[in-house]
């Protein structure tokens, strides 16, 4: 969506990502999604008197990986209590980092070449999950709430961008790229639908050249689509308000995905109202320089690099192929395509099979040897099997039916169809479908698909589509 002439959008995003640790940030309760309520809680994460938090080393490691991937300064840091009265924390404060975060001042480069500044990426604990009764689960108007503390104390890193984002599409691109980076570092599983990554957007508008306008913080953005829609809605709301003589009030607003609207949740408190103070139960965190260096050193290649490397295998990629490159990199399965390239195989076929057949069974790809994938791609490229058969072979290999593509092909009866048998079959089908044949002869190319479909049905997918068209054209 574009804004009315003369207006500029200014957005900063706060992204919370849960860390893939085994246990919580300050206690040994299991960090696990989707369990029975309150089965992973203990005196520490409930904040019972006498309990003491102890920092999880792996959470620090993952936080530093995020910092390294975002080109941040990784520095000594401290933990503060953020005090507030809301039952998603039973101890009435959240342990977070305040003036000295572990990671600060970095950046993220987006695929379009733009660079978004990162102000900080700090460690904190997640909150419990509240369910609001008697208003269709919505926050406003709830009479009573139920709380599950399983998520309470799960390690989070909050990544705060600079207000460098200028459109809702760019906000989406940033969120999407950041998600890929978080997955690549091993810090996050990237599952938006499970709330592993959550977005808050600070949105303001200004007339071009003017200072920043008053911002509103939008909450409850659970998908990339919600993020983009909410920013579009909010920008237009603020512009309409200002153009009709009103003033934007600094507040927190709630996005309602069903209504496609934001509404006031509460007027923003000042930061000091959280009465931050040092948590006296936790000592300073100052990772040894050798540990920090090691984290930076061991950091795997980031998605941007990996996309370039994979894209470089294609001579002049189409936009569909670029999408496939993105998908394959996101799933971390590009090694299969690289293996085909190393053997001088057909990279276009390999990319397509990876982005479709491997992607649809991504949890099983460890069963598939790279050389088996190379073989299947070669079999398809040489016409030894049809595309349909190649897909079936990959499905079989991924399902563990066999580990050798050629023996699986024999078991499935995928032998190259005899040219004369195909010729006879095409002849037969032309005779059986005179109307379709005359339309095809008359130039209706769509009918080729009809004949290919018939051939595939009769041969159980054994025939090669291109060969069928050759047979048809020979008689046209």
């Amino acid at each position: 969506m574009s804004l009315p002439d003369g207006w500029e959008l200014v957005v900063g995003l706060e992204v919370h990502t849960e860390l893939l640790t085994a246990s919580k940030l300050f206690c040994g309760c299991e960090n696990r999604f989707g369990e029975e309520p309150n089965t992973h809680v203990c005196p520490v994460c409930l904040g019972l008197p006498g309990s003491l938090p102890v920092l999880n080393r792996q959470a620090v490691e993952l936080a530093m990986r995020i910092g390294a991937a975002l080109h941040c300064t990784i520095a000594p840091s401290t933990f503060h209590r953020k005090n507030y009265f809301y039952p998603d924390q039973s101890k009435d404060y959240q342990i977070s980092q305040y003036d000295l975060p572990i990671n600060s001042r970095g950046y993220l480069d987006l695929p379009d070449g733009s660079r978004i500044g990162i102000e900080r990426a700090h460690l904190e604990e997640d909150t419990g999950k509240t369910t609001h009764l008697s208003s269709g689960g919505r926050l406003q108007g709830a009479e009573r709430s139920l709380v599950d503390y399983n998520r309470c104390g799960v390690p989070l890193v909050e990544i705060v961008s600079a207000p460098d984002i200028r459109s809702s599409a760019q906000a989406r691109a940033y969120a999407s790229e950041l998600r890929s980076v978080l997955i690549a570092t091993g810090a996050s599983d990237g599952r938006l639908e499970e709330g592993s990554i959550r977005f808050d957007a600070n949105v303001s508008v200004r007339r071009a050249g003017e200072p920043f306008g008053t911002r509103c913080e939008i909450k409850n953005l659970n998908s990339l689509r919600s993020l983009q829609r909410a920013i579009d809605y909010e920008a237009q709301r603020q512009i309409d308000l200002i153009e009709s003589g009103g003033v934007v009030r600094q507040e927190t607003r709630h996005w309602d995905e069903g209504l496609g609207e934001t509404s006031t949740l509460r007027v923003k408190e000042d930061a000091e109202d959280y009465r931050y103070f040092r948590d006296p139960d936790l000592v300073d965190l100052a990772p040894e320089p050798a540990w920090v260096d090691e984290v930076r050193h061991r950091l795997p290649p980031m998605p941007s690099e990996r996309r370039s490397a994979l894209g470089a295998l294609l001579s002049s990629p189409t936009s569909a192929q670029l999408d496939a490159v993105e998908a394959v990199v996101e799933l971390g399965i590009e090694r299969f395509v690289h293996a085909v390239a190393r053997e001088n195989g057909d990279v276009v076929i390999a990319l397509s099979r990876a982005a479709n057949e491997l992607a649809s069974a991504v949890d099983e790809v460890d069963r598939l040897a790279e050389h088996s994938f190379v073989t299947v791609v070669d079999m398809e490229a040489s016409g030894e099997v049809s595309a349909t058969q190649a897909k079936a072979l990959l499905a079989g290999l991924l399902a563990g039916e066999d580990s050798d593509p050629r023996s699986l092909a024999r078991a499935k009866g995928f032998e190259k169809m005899d040219q004369s048998a195909l010729s006879t079959l095409v002849e037969e089908l032309i005779g059986a479908h005179p109307d379709e044949w005359s339309r095809y002869r008359g130039g209706d190319e769509k009918l080729a698909q009809f004949f290919i479909g018939q051939v595939m049905r009769r041969t159980k997918g054994q025939a090669n589509g291109k060969t069928v068209i050759e047979e048809l054209n020979a008689r046209r």
């Binding site: 309150n38 080393r57 709380v147 503390y149 959280y274």
Partner: protein
């Protein structure tokens, strides 16, 4: 040194802590808190430019544990002390408008 703490400051701090104070209590605590702040502000008379702030009485840093799962409490035990519980969850009154 005199404190700049006002009665309004105390009223605000009490509100943030969800404390309901009477007029008499506000007067009493403004005086007491001002005394404490005055006492602390005596430090300002000292030359401390080469003394690092003390955040903790122990000279410890980097106290960490390995990422190992330990047993949690049984949910029955956790919910036994709760004034209200339903479907394995803690029941709380309507609380809108204070989420951070």
């Amino acid at each position: 040194m005199s404190s700049s703490l006002s009665r309004d400051d105390v009223e605000k701090v009490a509100r943030l802590a969800r404390l309901r104070l009477t007029e008499a209590e506000l007067d009493l605590f403004t005086g007491q808190l001002a005394q404490i702040l005055d006492h602390a502000s005596d430090l300002a008379a000292l030359d401390l430019h080469d003394v690092a702030p003390t955040a903790h009485p122990f000279g410890l840093i980097n106290v960490m544990r390995d990422d190992l799962v330990e047993a949690s409490l049984p949910p029955e035990e956790i919910l036994r002390e709760a004034p209200d519980a339903e479907q394995g969850r803690f029941g709380v009154p309507r609380i809108v408008g204070e989420e951070p």
